[in-house]
């Protein structure tokens, strides 16, 4: 069982996409952009944010020190943070050493093509101020983005 869930956060601390697999065997199980995950999303964001701040504090030298993964007793969180403040987060078990290649691919090929370059999809998912700092609720609902993400990730679910 490799992957448990996948999240995307934007620079306004909003969770703009989440996909969770509940059944280890069935890669189509689970929910996308589900309501009950909002709490978890905030917690996840909080954790990643504070660990990132620790990473910045402890980093030395000029080059930006980027956080790669967080392991806890039961699962591992892989993060990929883009310069534009987007966070791609993947929760997995301990088998795989690192998913940074996967996240980079998701960002570079799936997100950019289907969301960034897509004229219809809003560039910034927080329309006004009060949707910032974690209050935002808009999600990526672009069907083609979700399908391509699904095709890419589902083989990894049951690994």
């Amino acid at each position: 069982m490799a992957i448990y869930s996948f999240w995307i956060f934007d620079k306004h601390c909003n969770c703009i996409f989440d996909r969770e697999w509940t059944l280890t065997t069935n890669s189509t199980s689970g929910t996308t952009n589900s309501k009950q995950n909002q709490e978890t999303a905030k917690l996840l964001y909080g954790m990643i944010y504070s660990l990132r701040s620790i990473t910045q504090k402890l980093s030395r030298g000029l080059n930006k020190n980027e956080m790669r993964s967080i392991s806890t007793g039961k699962y591992r969180v892989h993060t990929y943070c883009t310069a534009s403040g987007l966070w791609f987060v993947l929760l997995s078990d301990f088998k795989q050493q690192s998913y940074s290649q996967v996240l980079e691919y998701i960002y570079s090929s799936i997100y950019v093509t289907y969301v960034a370059n897509n004229l219809f999809s809003p560039y910034d998912f927080a329309e006004n101020e009060d949707e910032m700092r974690g209050q935002g609720f808009r999600k990526i609902t672009n069907r083609r983005f979700i399908d391509s993400l699904e095709n890419f990730l589902s083989p990894l679910v049951g690994q």
Partner: protein, 218 residues
């Protein structure tokens, strides 16, 4: 696995011990080192995050009830390696107390052990350092920041045995080492009549023993 710095956080999140071991092999151009209250904030943040991590267990895991094996294998001579210079205990008389205080023999423990840290934060990998956290059942956290970095580029071959990848191996090495620091703590801090609980550690003996162990490692 060169240890860059060691922190000990008590069970209410207060930082009670912090040392940087800027021995050989650390970066030359030192970014202005964090001042002490940065480390205080860092310790309490870690303490906070520690709890959150345990709340975030994915649903898939909760439903599947898979039994995760938490046993950490014993790694011999880590930090108390008899190979190092101050190997043989001094003076051959009688059954003198080995140099391991109230522990007998040449190592604190010889068996594998189960980690108490079932779902809390255990490791943070970044490009420049890797942070390991060993938590005891009584809530004490030992944090080691090592300058060895986990390889990020890795081929995705599925057949690799789940436990061998460098991340997990590093966690095991760190847990072994930090448990030994815990043993030193239980000797040189808990048995010091002038130490009051939850307060910062001032004992020079503890300092000396930890340094000796760090030297053995790097």
């Amino acid at each position: 696995m060169a240890i860059q710095s060691l922190l000990i956080v008590n069970k209410s999140g207060g930082l009670i011990y912090h040392r940087n071991f800027t021995g050989t092999g650390s970066h030359e151009q030192q970014k202005q080192p964090l001042n002490s209250n940065d480390y205080l904030i860092l310790a309490s943040t870690l303490h906070g995050v520690f709890a959150i991590a345990s709340q975030l267990t994915p649903k898939a895991l909760q439903l599947s009830q898979t039994q995760i094996d938490y046993t950490i294998p014993y790694i011999p001579n880590l930090g108390t390696s008899s190979g190092a210079a101050n190997a043989t205990s001094s003076g051959g008389r009688g059954s003198n107390i080995g140099k391991l205080g109230s522990f007998k023999g040449d190592d604190f423990f010889k068996d594998s052990f189960t980690s108490w840290n079932k779902s809390g934060l255990r490791q943070l990998c970044t490009d420049q350092f890797t942070m390991f956290i060993y938590q005891t059942m009584s809530g004490l956290k030992f944090i080691a920041i090592s300058s060895t970095v986990m390889p990020q580029r890795q081929d995705l071959n599925p057949d690799r045995n789940k436990n061998i990848n460098p991340n997990n191996l590093a966690i095991q090495v760190a847990d072994n080492f930090l448990r030994k620091v815990y043993c030193l703590y239980s000797d040189y801090v808990m048995k010091d009549p002038f130490y009051s609980m939850e307060m910062p550690i001032k004992s020079d003996l503890f300092e000396k023993k930890v340094n000796a162990m760090i030297d053995n490692i790097s």
